[in-house]
């Protein structure tokens, strides 16, 4: 109930911003009757109508996970974003080992297997990507490669 309503309202607000933004685009001309603004406005109206249906007739509340699990999911997101930024400066092996170990631990909380998974995946994937598939990956930080 609540989730659908909140989501519906958020979508309506976003769609309004979308429509306003589209409104400022130039109108069409003889070679392009509709111009760049008409279709976005149609899409925006479609978003508003279907989101309004959610607000009026919401589904039963989805079973969101409890707070500890939500925190774990938040942590996983942070780890992934960190991994995305670490991939280039730190090379492939180290960030992959750490990120994979953390994710593995989050799925099955056993410390040693998770660390082994991280190490194993990092080395195995590096070998596959670099030598079997020929992608250009750096193993270690640029500074350490000399």
């Amino acid at each position: 109930m609540k989730t659908d309503r909140i989501f519906g309202v958020v979508v309506i607000l976003v769609a309004l911003a979308f429509i306003v933004s589209a409104y400022n685009l130039p109108a069409g001309n003889i070679f392009d009757k509709l111009g760049p603004k008409a279709f976005p406005i149609i899409v925006g109206i479609g978003m508003i109508l279907s989101a309004a249906m959610l607000v009026i007739k919401p589904d039963p509340e989805p079973d969101w996970p409890a707070l500890p699990t939500l925190l774990a999911l938040g942590l996983a997101t942070v780890v992934l974003v960190g991994y995305a930024y670490a991939l280039k400066p730190l090379g492939f092996l180290l960030p992959t080992a750490i990120a994979a170990a953390i994710l593995s631990y989050q799925i099955t909380p056993k410390r040693v297997p998770a660390m082994l998974t991280g190490l194993g995946l990092s080395v195995a994937l590096f070998v596959i990507f670099k030598y079997a598939l020929g992608l250009s990956l750096l193993a270690l930080p640029r500074g350490m490669m000399g």
Partner: protein, 501 residues
């Protein structure tokens, strides 16, 4: 006859050592992907796309590899349905109903062989039907102008949305969100950038590969973290595998009927393989009646859905290749492949790039025989792979997704965008909002807008032009029916959850 010369051309392309090799690799990977719970054809193909491109394969090679994976995953899905009672992917859900009881009765090997042969029959017949039907549909598609295409896209959204969700409003919302995302970036017609909020990275638009990998692959990690992979049930052990000739002979009509029904279900935009297996199982259950013993572990109960979903997989390629409109989640992903390779699917594909179309069809025919060999005599190899725990599998999938997208674009922004799509995919799944319409919107948004603008320019701004031709009117009526009919059918028919296939 045209068909034979076309197929000869196709086999000329497909029988090169490289293409054959890719088909075998694709079948092998696909079967694994299908068998592993949590990985299905759509996310399996999605993960492999970026890597395929970084390898620099040409169009035919890339398509052969990825469609072999697609077919392979359709075969592989049954393995965990039968042994673990967990569908390896969405369309294999119906196979659990009789497959798992068979396995519990000590007939796991028989169930695997029967379903493997049924998959082969369904996929082979569907591929042949694809070769026969597609050129005709392509010829009809020549009559399509911008108004017809616009109506066709509306039909794809309406039926896919109508089928894929339990709530029509949510399916519509997902489609519009996808379309809105597609509009971000530079408008090629007017030269204005739209909805970027001044962000330079966004002026190129949102890459649909980033969205697909995020929504289909990264979101899976979040689901597994939430459930701790607890769905992995205790498996049934597999004894010696022999061929149950008697059962195969007795299910011959079931397999043929289910292949035909599955193929038709696959062609309908939006219906896809899940519906194919559902319809065929219910049909055979009805024909067998009370005495058929469906649900207690009978051969027909595994043959019907497997023939049905594999035939549907072939059928779903028909609208994708001839009209450029995908019939299911996975064909949407394959459409993304084509578009990235600068190949425009549609009627012109058959005349401009016959090597691609017929090479693909010939490879699929070959792939079927490879898959039969892998899935019947070698099935034990894949059963071993099933034992990989999610705590190794899912981190691996994530890392592959990252490297794939990174090696394609080399930008942090795309990686972060991919994670954002992953979070969105997880939240949408929780809220029962289907993600396939979002993908479809991102894929088709540009074409849809172009056709609308083109149609309006042709007609001088007269809106009724959109409904003026008979083809367009029929498509609009079908779209409205396809979108609203499931609401009424739902009362009579309890269908399995269809989120992706």
């Amino acid at each position: 006859m045209d068909l034979f010369s076309n197929l000869a051309l196709g086999f000329g392309v497909a029988l090169s050592p490289m293409t054959l090799f890719l088909a075998v690799v694709g079948c092998f990977l696909g079967t694994i992907i299908g068998a592993l719970p949590g990985l299905g054809p759509s996310n399996g193909v999605a993960i492999l796309i970026p890597i395929t491109f970084s390898l620099g394969l040409d169009a035919t090679a890339a398509l052969v590899l990825l469609t072999s994976v697609y077919y392979g995953a359709m075969y592989g899905g049954r393995i965990s349905s039968i042994l673990l009672n967990i569908p390896g992917d969405e369309p294999a859900m119906m196979t659990t109903l009789d497959g798992y009881p068979m396995a519990k009765n000590g007939r796991a090997g028989d169930a695997l062989v029967i379903s493997g042969v049924a998959s082969f029959v369904g996929a082979l017949l569907a591929t042949l039907a694809l070769a026969l039907v597609a050129p005709y549909l392509a010829r009809i598609a020549y009559k399509f102008g911008p108004a017809e295409y616009f109506a066709l896209y509306a039909l794809a959204f309406a039926t896919l949305g109508g089928m894929a969700s339990n709530n029509q409003a949510k399916a519509a919302l997902a489609s519009f969100i996808g379309l809105a995302i597609a509009l971000i970036g530079l408008d090629n017609n007017s030269g204005f950038t739209r909805f970027t909020g001044g962000n330079l990275h966004l002026s190129d638009g949102v890459d649909f590969l980033v969205a697909i990998v995020g929504l289909f692959a990264v979101s899976e990690v979040f689901v597994f973290i939430e459930t701790h992979g607890k769905s992995s049930a205790v498996g049934v052990t597999l004894g010696k595998v022999t061929v149950p000739w008697k059962d195969l002979w007795e299910t011959r009509w079931t397999m043929l009927r289910s292949s035909a029904v599955g193929f038709v279900a696959g062609i309908l935009p939006g219906a896809g393989a899940s519906l194919g297996s559902f319809m065929t199982y219910m049909m055979e259950k009805g024909i067998a009646g009370e005495k058929g013993g469906f649900g207690t572990g009978v051969a027909k109960g595994v043959a019907a859905p497997e023939a049905g979903n594999n035939a549907a997989a072939g059928g779903a390629l028909v609208p994708m290749l001839t009209l450029g409109v995908p019939g299911s989640g996975t064909t949407a992903v394959l459409l993304a492949v084509l578009m990235t390779l600068n190949i425009t699917p549609g009627p012109t594909l058959f005349t401009d790039r016959p090597d691609v179309v017929w090479g693909l069809i010939a490879s699929l025919l070959i792939a079927n025989f490879v898959l039969l060999a892998m899935n019947v005599p070698m099935v034990k190899v894949f059963v071993k792979i099933l034992m990989v725990p999610p705590a190794i599998l899912l981190p691996g999938v994530t890392m592959i997704s990252f490297v794939g997208i990174y090696s394609l674009s080399g930008s942090y922004f795309d990686l972060v965008l991919m994670i954002a799509f992953g979070v969105m995919g997880y939240a949408f799944r929780k809220m029962d909002i289907p993600t396939v319409p979002v993908i479809l919107g991102i894929l088709l948004g540009y074409q849809m807008e172009n056709n609308l603008r083109h149609a309006m320019t042709l007609s001088g701004g007269e809106w009724t032009y959109l409904f003026s031709s008979p083809i367009a009117s029929v498509l609009w009526v079908a779209a409205i029916l396809g979108f609203f009919a499931p609401i009424f059918l739902r009362r009579f028919l309890k269908k399995p959850q269809l989120t992706e296939d």
